[in-house]
Chain length 471, copies 3
């Protein structure tokens, strides 16, 4: 067996002087509370506070970072617990866990392994690297661990020192779990919803009309008209804000934001309900709605997060069999400067408006995102996202973004995860990489040591709080 | 107060062996004269040799690198001295300077702060980092300093050891300041004009016809016809060359260079004067003119600099209120290989022709610029430009360019600045980064130490002189 | 004279701890046999086993990496031995060699010089850096060396420890040299053909019909019809496999792969033979053929290599005078995710199908290639190619690819060279860079040392053998 013992100096630079400083910078923020202003943990998990199911259902099946890599080395998704054609997977938690252990080497050098090693060691107390030999023993150990009260969601929430956890929610969501948490005097954490209206932006998608109906019921506003949809979205934004929300999120294939005249948008809305909408009209409608979401942000001050540029469900047969979020969403070529022209023309210097830009195409770091954040007071450079949420890419982000945007116009780290137990490992990774980057600036005399400490602390506290208007 | 004391080892690598060599390589070129073959300092500044106005008017208001970042953190441009709607800013030099000092932390880690620290310390003798507390005291100190004769432009020109300073000038410019400098036996510096015909390339722009008239008057050649415009441009190129110019510059949104038949270009020229030119015709006309400028370079040997790919004036309301060059020119996606095909097909191996390519999209370093410079004898890889004129990006440039173009086919450093007092800091930054890059090659045994010294010296002397035909 | 003595630690990191480990990792694989699964050495060179011609004809004239850089600094291609307009170059081997020696400094810092230094020293035993002064002496030394029996191709093949050498061959090639090698009991090496059908994919190209005829003759299948062409290609694939081939290769301007209905493809095929094919039809035909090649790979299991995105023959006058492969093939913007959708939809999870993706646009590393290889079991990330086959770019590749694809889904090194004597230097470069990358992961505690040794060994043995199904 091979020991699992993440090194206390992991991710720090090799040079001794740089490493020593990185270590001290990290130590200054290692125990700071976690602000998680964007992620996919459901509020109900904390509201219900039920024990987690088996280790595979917690750690593997729902995490497409993990399943995609196992799939890439030949493991069928059905062996990892994903239901096929609606039929539950015959795989057991134990067999799924075994698949991970057998293929543990495929993750060598990857951030998934880095997170898992931290998480297995520091959250779950494992002391051996997974392998085909110890798979069952580790599974038994994890199962026993998960059964203990210290591993209930709320206990972990406290242990992880989470200051704020933002969920991601549909406008039609009743936010019932958020309400339960708020009403529960025994829960003192802060869990806030995030308004994500993606599902109303594609009038040519199957189910769009039904979603409008659900939204109408929730908002008690007729959404059969375009004006009604806007009114319902506005009403729900207010409800999200009342529930503690400070931000919205939007994920679209491109950042196009050309507004339409109300009459034209209304016409397309009706055409979509009639089933006669064209593809071009649907694109125009979606881009207009992105503009309208920005307009609403300029009115109500909810921070607009934009995650554009992902080709969803690239492998149609896998989508048909296993559904979405199964590992074949793939990066598109990124573009911000041109497509965001209308939004930034009209709201870019509006002090109420705020826009945080995320990308899966790192060519936009120095070419688009940093220059935009380096002029528009409303624009912030979002943390590296998804495929780029890795030690090497975060360094590239800092090197490319700081030139034009400094540190102040970056968002602070965002874990964007549904893997609740990986949250501390992910934030710790970010803190280590930022400490290393700051140390490199100090050692090369581009930054004073005391300024590096100030920035390290701001990056995990003041900067995410200010960016996301968390108070 | 925090001391302002730029470290002598700044920008050198952390590794002791690498740092020691970088330090020695830098020392070998630290005091070498400055060749500045491309920039935006006006010749009249040196011809008049008047004292500089107040510190803010020298250091802040005209430098969009500075104002854009202050704007990004919430300072209105009017507070930085920019005239709004033609109404002079009510801000005083002192209040503008205060805005910089109050927001000094926003620049942490950025090249603007790096330049300012060097410049404040080494040019102006400041010993404290700016802050809200010492803003007034520093302002008084700078004001007193600027009043001394040692801080007149010519005195600084000598102190900065500028061997050649190229200005950027419109073809209709009378080059009067250049003539005064040339005729003045008390000024022994070399200040040369650069021919920049951008304003004649967009026949659909307001003011195009009026500019043609001014050019006609200057060249004494009727520009009402396309042939006349070409003749006038040729005549002015000759005048620029006679005034010491060795180069031209062109900044266009793309590098398209498809030539038109003379009849078609003439037709569009007339249509533009009639006010009936279409957008597509204007593009075709502009691309044809880029081709014609290359053709003229192949005739007269003026080195053609090309700075394509910037979206000008992205924020229309700021442009309307404050005018151009106010911080919201933003990088476009870069492209050279395909759009330059016509120019390179016809002049690429012509020994008279020379083309220096600049980019604000670093993806083109390894994909386009270096491979072009690595085949075409006429093509040179221009130094990293604008958003990329930073320590981190210069390193990326060297790492990406050297593979296919070596050092010989790069241009040497270009400061491209209107901030006269930052010129030494900018060149010193470049020399430090190049020393660091060369040291890394030597320490990893990819380059012999003596070759590194040779290259370090060539990069600041022979290479810019040869690239720009400065003799 | 300057000593030529490549340092044993070349390319290892500067940090002492990292360097020590890189040295040990490299030592573990330095003498491992070479798998060369993709390259351009002709099989006849080994079958004939004739002495090499003069040094220039071996080292300079046929290597466009070398000639393009000499051309970029002003040496006419005719001076380097290239025939112009069919007229043999008047340059002698000695004069060509002199041109390289005189311009040796132009290669400082480039991978060409790095390979040459290793090759000159380790293969040919030179002890001086080339220069104008020693050009003749070195030429005489090389000439004498090449005359010795130890420098015959087969002797070098053994000395280089080449385990497998893949050639690149046209489907109409008779593979006679491969047959001779296989039948020769005195040759125990493994030389395998690679099926490259590019020349049948462009029905609008001059000579397409004549090539179809040659293919028909070779396959004994009428290729006048589209169905016939497919049948002939299938037959030749089988012949290549029978001759030991395990892979195909395709180089196209883009990766578009939309299939056509057979009737439409047949119609375009006939139109092309009639001389009436349109440019758009030719593109559609080519993209359909790429799809069909993937379909065949899914049937016969030959590994599909894809090298898209090169603008061929950018400088038309050079092409007209000197022909193809003369240094002005230039990288295009790369794209995989969208254009490969049809192939991956239909064959992406087919266990028989395998697709190795290469690029000359490094922006696709993290944005497209690694995410594709990180989901599709069929997709592998090919080694950095051509302009990116350099120490600095290989490091960037590893840093960008490992995050999403680990090491397992990379191809192992590929030399892709026609410069036979540079093969050991190229593979050694790759092994040094990989050792350095692995050392950096270990020293920053992202990888255990024993795992680094395992990966270093797998990268030169198991991984290329498995990727290319070499057994």
């Amino acid at each position: 067996m091979t020991a699992l013992a993440p090194h206390p100096d992991r991710l720090f630079p090799a040079d001794p002087a740089e490493r020593d400083l990185a270590r001290r910078l990290h130590a200054a923020v290692a125990d700071a509370p976690i602000y998680s202003p964007h992620g996919h943990v459901p509020a109900s998990m904390l509201a219900d506070d039920e024990p987690f199911p088996d280790p595979a259902a917690l750690l593997i099946t729902p995490d497409h970072y993990v399943t995609r890599m196992l799939h890439a080395v030949g493991v069928p998704l059905g062996d990892l617990g994903l239901a096929r054609d609606g039929v539950p997977s015959p795989a057991t938690g134990r067999s799924i866990w075994r698949r991970l252990c057998e293929n543990w080497d495929a993750f060598l050098g990857t951030p998934v392994r880095f997170w898992f090693e931290s998480e297995f060691s520091e959250v779950f107390g494992l002391t051996e690297q997974p392998s085909a030999q110890n798979a069952d023993a580790l599974y038994d150990q994890l199962t026993a661990t998960l059964a203990s009260p210290e591993f209930r969601p709320r206990a972990l929430f406290d242990r992880f020192r989470i200051a704020v956890l933002a969920t991601t929610d549909d406008p039609a969501d009743d936010l019932e779990a958020h309400a339960r948490l708020a009403a529960d005097p025994s829960f003192t954490g802060r869990v806030v919803p995030t308004f994500r209206a993606d599902r109303y932006m594609h009038p040519d998608e199957a189910g769009w009309a039904a979603r409008l109906d659900r939204l109408a019921a929730r908002a008690d506003i007729d959404t059969a008209s375009y004006a009604g949809l806007l009114a319902a979205l506005r009403a729900r934004r207010a409800a999200f804000a009342a529930a503690g929300g400070t931000a919205t999120d939007t994920g679209v294939i491109d950042a196009g934001s050309e507004p339409l005249e109300a009459a034209e948008a209304s016409r397309i809305h009706r055409a979509a309900l009639d089933g006669s909408v064209t593809a071009a009209e649907a694109v125009a409608y979606r881009r207009n709605l992105l503009y309208r979401l920005a307009e609403m942000s300029a009115e109500d001050g909810l921070v607009m997060q934009l995650h554009p540029g992902v080709h969803r469900n690239h492998h149609r047969p896998t989508f048909d069999a296993y559904g979405p979020d199964t590992g074949h969403d793939l990066p598109a070529v990124g573009s911000f400067t041109v497509p965001l022209t209308p939004i930034l023309r009209d709201f870019g210097t509006n002090p109420t408006f705020r826009l945080v830009l995320f990308t899966v195409d790192e060519t936009t770091f120095s070419r688009e995102i940093a220059p935009l954040a380096g002029f528009y007071p409303s624009v912030y450079a979002g943390a590296p996202w998804w495929f780029l949420d890795t030690p090497a890419a975060i360094l590239r982000y800092r090197r490319a973004i700081t030139d034009s945007a400094g540190f102040t116009k970056t968002s602070g780290f965002i874990d964007d995860t549904r893997a609740f137990c990986s949250i501390p490992a992910r934030h710790d990774m970010s803190r280590r990489v930022d400490a290393s980057f700051l140390a490199s600036l100090v050692v090369t005399h581009q930054l004073a040591e005391e300024d590096a400490f100030t920035i390290a602390r701001r990056l995990v506290d003041e900067i995410p709080r200010a960016t996301f208007r968390l108070g």
